[in-house]
Amino acid sequence: MPVEPTSVTDVHDGLRATGYLPGESTALVSYLATKLGKPILVEGPAGVGKTELAKALSKYLGRDLVRLQCYEGLDEAKALYEWNYRKQLLRIQAERQGTGWDDVQDDIFGEEFLLERPLMTAIASSEPVVLLIDEIDKTDQEFEAMLLEVLSDFQISIPELGTVVSKSHPVVLLTSNNTRELTEALKRRCLYLWLDYPELEHELEIVRLHTPELPEAVGRKLVEVVAQVRDLDLKKPPSIAESIDWARALLLLGAQDIDSKVFADTMSVIVKHRTDLDVVAERVGVKLSAPAAS
């Protein structure tokens, strides 16, 4: 059932209800996006819930999620549309005799022979959708330029068919891990949202939501340790998803406290580079209390 939010608090509560705990600016920017019909550019380190936000939004707004995963070398054929070449060929073969060229030509460039790719699906859909363009920074600038038409006018021109104009306004999210600067033109068309690692209390709430059975004290200790680990200069600081994984692991082990032994045994859940492991063991592991003798 499509939902139309009427205030920031609506969005905030709605996202919470889907199991996503938004920060103060997240709810606000999402609300603005639904109101203004502008895409959101979400940037931030890996694993802070950029993609999750899109999923939560689609769940909350009651819209389908259309996802376009970007990668190096992604081109129009994979993102917009492609002619179904095989079908066209078979069609021509089937009517080889007695059909004039004009008839065939009109026929084989019809919607029947069009393969819709994510952007096309989002625009042509009769129901409003949430369009997620994931990791836009992985593509090249040419692709970005092509996106501009789609994002500002919500239309796609197909030479053989004409222009497909969106029937419903999709909510668009673009995510970027900041591996390169996006072009000014693209940024200009978007609302900007920077997602960072959450504050202590916020992360504690997230962890608790996912592992309600974890003892309160362990949960608090966990987010404190994770915050300490993030402060170090690591190759890959632990993400929220990894905090949750760690909480689950501790729950399975039935840990009642995070002491130095438990930490040494389980830290590979949150730290995944060999060099990082050494740094963390040396800087954080030693600060924790020794296991209680039992």
Binding site: L32, E43, G73, A77, D140, E181, K187, R188, Y192, L193
Partner: protein, 450 residues
């Protein structure tokens, strides 16, 4: 209010944020959906529409605070309103310092903002009483913070119930400092009944790692650009053709399935080109000031390229690829290089001739036309033979060779600089600021003429 917003936009532009009319229009249309009176919402709305990167966001925060704080104060002066309440200096004198310290620490640990603001005023009053004000707000803030003993690291010597024992959260301390600063500014304005002149934010306020050449963040940004350019090099000529290369053999084979009709077109796979980079970096004393910059370039390059080998040299050459692969911290890297590489023999002067021949020995077999060699150095041979002939052979084997010289072009070929001997075999660039590094990256993308 609309006028105020435009002024605010103007002020942001003054700090170097690119704000076009479209951004301002967005801000206005966004504000129609958000109550202006909610401070957090108002601020976030403006930030989402005006500041389009994290750097911009940081500047935005500073300008926002300054702009609206000043606006409010100006209004207060015009209306003749003075801040009511607070604590009079006489009262403050009676305060027990130790108790105040503990209260502040408690409030900071709990993140209680309202209490923090009250305590900030109290602290200022208490210290003003002691006559320690220096007249410079930044200095006062640090003095007050120090005498309040607000520290992030644990202080185990304190009694058990003291909130400072475990150390205090850094963010909250920073917030408290900001409050101190605001209160001090307010005091100053109240005293003089006028605003201090607005000063542009200097680079330091933006909290970037600064220093004339060692702007690490900027170097990393430029190198990220360099990476993209090198990767796509040579692809531009191929244009649309790159997906049209049909593999006839495979297509014929696949067509058997459809009775000889080529229904499935098999294309030749596109193999992305992997750049291979060799970087030689001079770390001798004649380029001391530049070598920090060069090392940070090396450091940034290592973040971006996997197929890269780096060497440092003075009299002889030493491969440091391993060190960069192991160490993440820039400081640790430079220490490790100074300690382990052992490139200085006796004199500590660069010996280019020896460096070339050693380099050639080490990598000759690996060099091929797809490799790029980048030399960072000042080409000052200290009177030794430049051996440009060996350098020419290296340049001939590698695809492209670049020389980045940390000296202004004016000094090239004066004294013992022999850059002209090398310049005929490579492209040489003047490079001692991030701007020039950027220019070099741009030059890289120009099509090759061979």
């Amino acid at each position: 209010m609309a006028g105020r917003l435009l002024e605010f936009g103007e002020e942001l532009r003054g700090e170097g944020i690119a704000i076009g009319t479209s951004e301002l229009l967005d801000a206005f249309s966004a504000l129609q959906h958000v109550p202006w009176t909610e401070q957090v919402d108002f601020r976030e709305t403006l930030a989402a529409t005006l500041a389009k990167s994290q750097d911009d966001r940081r500047v935005f925060e500073l300008v926002f605070d300054r702009f609206f704080f000043r606006a409010a104060e100006l209004a207060a002066i015009e209306e003749g309103v003075r801040e009511e309440g607070g604590i009079s200096p006489d009262e403050a004198g009676a305060l027990d310092m130790e108790q105040l310290r503990r209260q502040v620490a408690q409030a900071v640990r709990d993140g209680n903002q309202a209490l923090m603001r009250d305590l900030a005023r109290m602290a200022i009053a208490a210290f003003g009483r002691q006559g320690e004000g220096s007249g410079v707000i930044g200095v006062d803030v640090q003095r007050i913070r120090r005498s309040l003993a607000l520290r992030t690291d644990p202080q185990p010597e304190l009694p058990q119930e003291d909130p400072r024992r475990q150390g205090l959260p850094r963010d909250e301390i920073r917030r408290f400092e900001a409050m101190l600063r605001q209160e001090l500014e307010r005091n100053q304005i109240e005293r003089t009944e006028q605003l201090s002149p607005a000063r542009p934010l200097n680079e330091l306020d933006r909290a970037l790692p600064s220093g004339p050449l060692q702007d690490l963040a900027a170097v990393h940004r430029v190198v990220a650009q360099l990476k993209r350019r090198l990767k796509t090099q040579g692809n531009e000529q191929r244009g649309h053709k790159r997906h049209a290369a049909v593999d006839m053999r495979k297509t014929m084979r696949a067509s058997l399935e459809f009775g000889g009709v080529p229904a499935v077109i098999k294309e030749k796979p596109v193999r992305p080109r992997r750049p291979e980079i060799y970087v030689l970096c001079d770390v001798s004393t004649s380029v001391t000031s530049a070598s920090v910059f060069f090392l940070s370039v090396l450091h940034a390059l290592h973040d971006s390229f996997r197929k890269m080998r780096s060497f440092v040299f003075i009299e002889r050459i030493s491969e440091v690829t391993e060190i960069f692969a192991k160490e993440r911290d820039f400081k640790a890297v430079s220490e490790a290089i100074a300690r382990d590489s052992g490139v200085a023999d006796i004199s500590g002067y660069t010996d280019y001739g020896r460096v070339w021949s050693e380099f050639r020995e080490q990598v000759e077999d690996d060099l091929h036309p797809r490799a790029t060699v980048i030399v960072l150095g000042d080409a000052r041979t200290n009177g030794r033979d430049p051996r440009a002939d060996i350098f020419a052979k290296i340049a001939a084997k590698a695809g492209r060779t670049f020389w980045l010289n940390p000296e202004p072009r004016l000094y090239w070929n004066y004294g013992d600089s022999v850059i002209s001997a090398y310049e005929q075999y490579c492209e040489a660039y003047e490079c001692w600021t991030t701007q020039q590094l950027e220019d070099f990256v741009k030059a890289l993308t120009r099509p090759m003429h061979h």
